[in-house]
């Protein structure tokens, strides 16, 4: 016999959990009492949203399930943003929330919120515990659901009285979920059809999404495209799934993607979408998206297939499984890669005519694009780069060359400002062997900046680079381009002083303003032990280009 909360700790250990991010409160006191001597490492964050995003960063960097604890009421409502974020970006995280005693449920008790109801649309699944003996099975089912199929967040809401009951605990060896049977094996006939279509295509493009990283299918993807010299583009979520230094790499596609990638999609006769979902930031004007193309759509989630763009050859299953088998079928057909030489010539022309470019400053001013290039040089690209939301995120996606999966951690679907710092912290905890760097903006960093204190407390050596232009830059850019430069509520003023703030938070603070010494200065700053905040002052009004204006077709990119 043991308390239900002690059983939870046993379940967590059985699931291989080594660290939990969380915040205690009245309703999850029993859980924290059980954790006290469980041997599981706990990181006390400074805000539950930080805990949720840290668990996401941990999951994205490691490929394991992240875990976050929060109390009832405000603790639970504070994790609504990370839950939604994890849902949009398919991140496996299990959230445990405390709940008021069962006799208080529904009475508007102190710190009561309808967590189960509030979070229902933003979870892959959730459990409301009604009996203590359900708990161990629910925990294992939660982990199973979070990590399998299309990954996603799962929530367990547990009334505090139930968590204290003594139960018989026996390790749970299996999960029984008759309504949850994800298809992982792709259909052989469809795979053969896809191989045939590929070997006949004259203007093919591989469009890889975050699913490739979730499926751990980068090697299979690379092998497949190298076999027949296929051009590859990745979504924002998939950067690193295919090496950006590879000659077959077209760059990112979509709103701020390269012209080569977007034009190739526009003129393609066959597009192979792998673990991607034809988001509106990719397609631009849907009716004019890739008008000449047939689509092969590989995805583990059948609901994504033909949701936005009708697929000619749908293949439901795990990308790793399907890409491996697709290559075998493809090999058997012996395609002649020389049929693509005309296509490659066209792509090379776009590349030569439209490289990513910006006008450098004539004085010592740091251009934001150059800050990313300098950061790439200073780190040799060997780090996990997390990002917040806005212009800095797009420039990082454009100018930082990701060569491995799980080295780029950002909030793609929800676009959550404040995601970056806790995510970088989670990544650093997951992979202490790889430097964890955050690129943020002066706007984003101030949402969840409290986590600097967490980094200092636990000695989590996140190197924070703030691209500081004194503006909410992306909103300013849209006001400049589409709203007659009426800059409404986008100026951030000179406060706070990030260097002093960093010091007050127990971190080192450095200000950089001179581009001529930037690479060395960045190197020196990042060599400081422990968490460091680098306040890099950049050009105030700079726009991210090229750009597909909202509602426009890809071929009409500007800038």
């Amino acid at each position: 016999m043991m308390r239900a909360v002690d059983a939870i700790m046993e379940c967590l250990k059985a699931e291989g959990v080594d660290v939990v991010f969380g915040y205690p409160g009245g309703a999850n006191l029993p859980t924290y009492d059980a954790m006290y001597d469980s041997g599981i490492r706990h990181i006390l964050v400074r805000h539950e949203a930080g805990g949720g995003h840290a668990a996401e960063g941990y999951a994205k960097a490691s490929g394991k399930v992240g875990v976050c604890f929060a109390t009832s009421g405000p603790g639970a409502t504070n994790i609504v943003t990370p839950l939604t974020d994890a849902m949009m970006d398919s991140v496996p995280v299990v959230f445990f929330t405390g709940q008021v005693r069962t006799d208080l449920l529904g009475t508007d008790g102190f710190q009561e919120a309808d967590t189960f109801g509030i979070t229902m649309p933003i979870v892959k699944h959730s459990f409301l515990i009604r009996h203590p003996t359900e708990i161990p099975r629910a925990v294992h089912e939660a982990f199973h659901i979070a990590r399998t199929g299309r990954p996603g967040p799962v929530l367990i809401d547990m009334p505090t009285d139930l968590s204290k009951v003594e139960i018989e605990y026996e390790p749970v060896g299996d999960v029984r979920l008759p309504g949850y049977q994800p298809t992982t094996e792709g259909n052989s006939k469809q795979i053969r059809l896809a191989a045939k279509a590929l070997s006949n295509a004259r203007r093919p493009v591989i469009y890889a999404g975050g699913g490739v990283i979730n499926a751990d299918a980068s090697a299979e993807l690379t092998e497949l495209v190298e076999f027949d010299n296929l051009p590859v583009t990745c979504t924002l979520m998939a950067l690193g799934a295919f090496p950006a230094t590879h000659p077959q790499w077209l760059g990112m596609l979509g709103m701020h993607g390269t012209r080569a990638a977007n034009y190739a999609m526009d003129e393609a006769d066959l597009i192979v979408a792998v673990g991607a979902r034809f988001d509106d930031r990719i397609t631009g004007k849907l009716s004019e998206f890739a008008p000449r193309a047939k689509f092969i759509h590989i995805d583990i989630d059948p609901a994504e297939i033909s949701k936005n763009v009708p697929a000619h050859i749908p293949i439901v299953g795990d990308a790793k499984n399907i890409l491996g088998r697709l290559l075998n079928e493809y090999r058997a057909l012996g395609p002649d890669s020389s049929r693509l030489s005309e296509w490659w010539e066209r792509i090379e022309r776009w590349r030569a005519q439209h490289p990513l470019r910006y006008e450098d400053s004539e004085d010592t001013e740091i251009k934001p694009q150059y800050l990313i290039q300098a950061l790439y040089q200073a780190t040799n690209g060997d780090c996990i780069l997390s990002s917040d939301i806005g212009q800095h995120q797009m420039w990082a996606a454009q100018y930082f060359h990701f060569s491995k999966p799980r080295r780029w951690i950002n909030s793609g679907g929800l676009g959550t400002m404040g995601f970056g710092l806790p995510a970088a912290m989670g990544a650093a905890v997951a992979r202490p062997d790889v430097p964890s760097v955050l690129i943020s903006g002066d706007g984003s960093i101030q949402m969840n900046i409290q986590e600097l204190a967490t980094c200092a407390t636990y000695g989590i050596p996140v190197k924070v680079v703030i691209m500081n232009n004194g503006y909410l830059g992306m909103v300013r850019q849209w006001q400049e381009l589409f709203w007659d430069r009426r800059y409404s509520a986008v100026e951030m003023s000179q406060w706070p002083d990030f260097v002093k703030l960093a010091e007050a938070m127990g971190c080192a603070g450095v200000r950089l303003e001179d581009k001529t010494t930037l690479v060395d200065d960045l190197r020196a700053a990042m060599a400081i032990e422990g968490p460091v905040v680098i306040d890099a002052r950049v050009t105030k009004e700079e726009c991210v280009y090229p750009m597909i204006a909202p509602g426009e077709a890809a071929r009409n990119m500007v800038g």
């Binding site: 892959k124 609901a303 909202p550």
Partner: protein, 185 residues
């Protein structure tokens, strides 16, 4: 249409056209679910979130106490129905969904009608009830309560006929359905 984020104005007509309900044939979805907390809310929430209008909804136990059957009808072209069933399948507590073909389905609905019928009109109302094989389940001096069971169309037809007598109120269950033949729904 004016894209969010740009100054381009959106006309009311555009807004309505974008939100317009797709019309197509009626679909009856039979959904077998686990009896777990919040299942109905999850399903209703999914419909609301994806912009689908449920016409009728009936929930009840099955022969196995661990499961319930939800029968819902909705109007839609094939494509969105496909998307709805795929989304429904993602719910962990949903075991089975059948988009029932009308020709291969036995579907019934029950309705209760309270009709103003005094001495003068009562006979005539009773005749209509007779034709529709309805049942009078309550009689007072000035009103009748009538129970009618049948297809959706039959109940609509009955309503049209009795309305002129003074339909005070009506309650309908929504259709329940089961596939014809030996196989399970």
């Amino acid at each position: 249409m004016g894209d969010p984020g740009t100054k381009q104005l959106v006309s009311l007509e555009e807004l309505e056209a974008a939100a317009g309900v797709r019309t197509g044939r009626k679909h009856i979805l039979s959904i077998l679910v686990e009896n777990k907390p919040g299942v109905l809310t999850r399903i209703a929430g999914l419909f609301a979130r994806r912009g689908f209008n449920i016409d009728t909804l009936a929930v009840g136990p099955t022969d196995d106490p661990a499961f319930s059957r939800i029968t819902l009808t909705l109007d839609g072209a094939m494509h969105p129905i496909d998307q709805v069933t795929k989304q429904l399948h993602k719910l962990v507590n949903v075991l089975k969904i059948r988009d029932l073909e009308p020709a291969e389905t036995a579907a019934r609905e029950m309705a209760l009608f309270k009709i103003a019928a005094d001495g003068g009109t009562r006979g005539e109302v009773m005749q209509v009830v007779e034709i529709f094989r309805g049942k009078i389940i309550d009689v007072t001096r000035r009103a009748l309560i009538i129970e009618v069971t049948g297809s959706h169309d039959k109940i609509e037809a009955f309503e049209r006929l009795v309305r002129p007598f003074g339909l005070i109120e009506m309650a309908r269950t929504g259709e329940i359905a089961i596939s014809r033949g030996r196989g399970e729904t």
